[in-house]
């Protein structure tokens, strides 16, 4: 579905991604694992078009997208729930969700998708008139995920969706992600809890200092010595 080849990204002079080649297959739940500053966010932002690569190609369902602007990429069906949520703080929950369906195809199915999101997060329905900036962290994360779903994505990418949330809220968010995946959306997940994400994923990449160092089935990686030492604290 998504095929990235020999991707190189740099900020000014500093190289953040080097020779990264990954692939996401339809229906997968792909995990990307790496420590802070490894380049995970950069990878997602490059896919989304926020950051332009210096070298390499990104192909999505047969189309080259590495030169497209973010809105065009959204229209192709790739959406991310960004690190830090990036909500519109002075818009209501409902408006935030509506903004998620900004593209023309999504706009047609707005009310239908909205029902689905409210079903997923009943809390948001209660709070739909409230300004997003006044919600708790967990509720904001629900809005962020809901907003991304509103565009009816083919590929949903989540960047540390549980960051800073209370344990109960973390569970809820991750369960929802699994739920979304089960219903047929291809998912790329970046999650602090490496053990958990390797457990639930179909496949995973390990990113270190901007390069892919390992790739494999979640279970295989769980047994990998390097992963154990570096990420699982074993």
């Amino acid at each position: 579905m998504l095929k990235i080849q020999k991707l190189e990204v740099s900020y000014g002079g500093m190289v953040a991604l080097r020779d990264v080649s990954i692939q996401v297959n339809e229906g997968e739940l792909l995990a990307i694992v790496g420590s802070n500053g490894a380049g995970k966010t950069t990878l997602l932002n490059t896919i989304s078009g926020l950051v332009k690569p210096a070298k390499g190609t990104i192909e999505f369902m047969g189309n080259r997208i590495e030169r497209l602007e973010p809105p065009a990429i959204v229209r192709q069906g790739i959406v991310q729930v960004p690190e830090g949520r990036k909500l519109f703080p002075r818009m209501t929950v409902l408006e935030n969700l509506e903004m998620g369906a900004y593209g023309p195809q999504a706009a047609d199915k707005l009310s239908e998708t909205l029902d689905m999101v409210f079903e997923l997060f009943p809390k948001l329905k209660e709070r739909r008139k409230q300004l997003a900036g006044t919600l708790s962290g967990g509720e904001q994360q629900m809005v962020a995920i809901g907003r991304a779903l509103m565009s009816r994505p083919k590929l949903l990418m989540l960047d540390e969706p549980t960051l800073g949330l209370a344990p109960k809220m973390k569970d809820l968010v991750l369960k929802t992600v699994l739920n979304i995946h089960k219903k047929g959306t291809t998912v790329v997940l970046i999650e602090q809890n490496v053990a958990y994400s390797l457990n639930i994923c179909t496949r995973a990449y390990v990113l270190e200092n901007g390069s892919i160092v390992l790739e494999g089935q979640g279970r295989d990686l769980l047994g990998n010595e390097h992963v154990k030492k570096a990420y699982l604290g074993l």
Partner: protein, 290 residues
Amino acid sequence: MITAQIFWQSFINGILMGGIYALVAVGLTLIYGVMNIMNFAHGEFLMLGMYISYWAFTLLGIDPYLSVVIAFLILFLIGTLIEKTMIEPVLKGQPLNQLLLTIGISLFLSNMAVFLWSSDNRSLQTTYSNTSFNLGNIVLHEPRLVAFLFAVVISIVLYIFLQKTKIGKGIRAASQHKEGALLVGIDVKKSYMIAFGIGVACAGIAGVLLSPFFYINPTVGAAFSFTAYVIVVLGTMGNFVGALIGGLIIGIAEAIGGIVFMPSLKQVISFGIFILVLLFKPTGLFGGQQ
């Protein structure tokens, strides 16, 4: 001692002028709020609006109040064009570059006006330019009243546009979180173009509304820009409702201050308010909300 009649006359004058100030400031604050740049050429778009009204009336006999629509369209186009070709390329750059650019645009526009239309003052003489009626012992000058009503209505229409329409919401989203907006598929560049176009068109409409009773020359915008900057800061930079209320406050403060103290101190009064706001509430009267 100021008589009640003079006081209330001034008060009304202040409100009417404040409405025009507000319309100018609303455009400026919209541009700031969305794009995070201060448009130092704002007054020159007001000047262009005046000339559009003047020529439409003089050459084609078009009533200034019809020119509101013409000026909106023309200035919206010019605004989007300027945004696309000149402002967008420097948006990622240093604030200083953006400042120099908009100041440059302002110089260019006023010099262009001198070149095309000479520096002579002009006035538009409509049949209703000088009509007024009495409300008790207060004189209400009709074109000012109409200008005020237009300004209020246009501000409300613009407010509704931003609140309710898809494009308007997209503009607000882009102003609140640029990356967030990009990630949901909003064409932020287009939002900027539209916001800038609408913002300068507001200034242009204010110029049209002033044209039946004001003078017109290439540098007329400068005096209005000054007031508009003060209002935008007073009403919290980027805050739409703040600009509306700020416009009225400054209009009234100038009118009353002008008769209580000295008219020449009007700008000092505006400036004093500006300094006080910076000292005690740097985020403006409406800091923290929008």
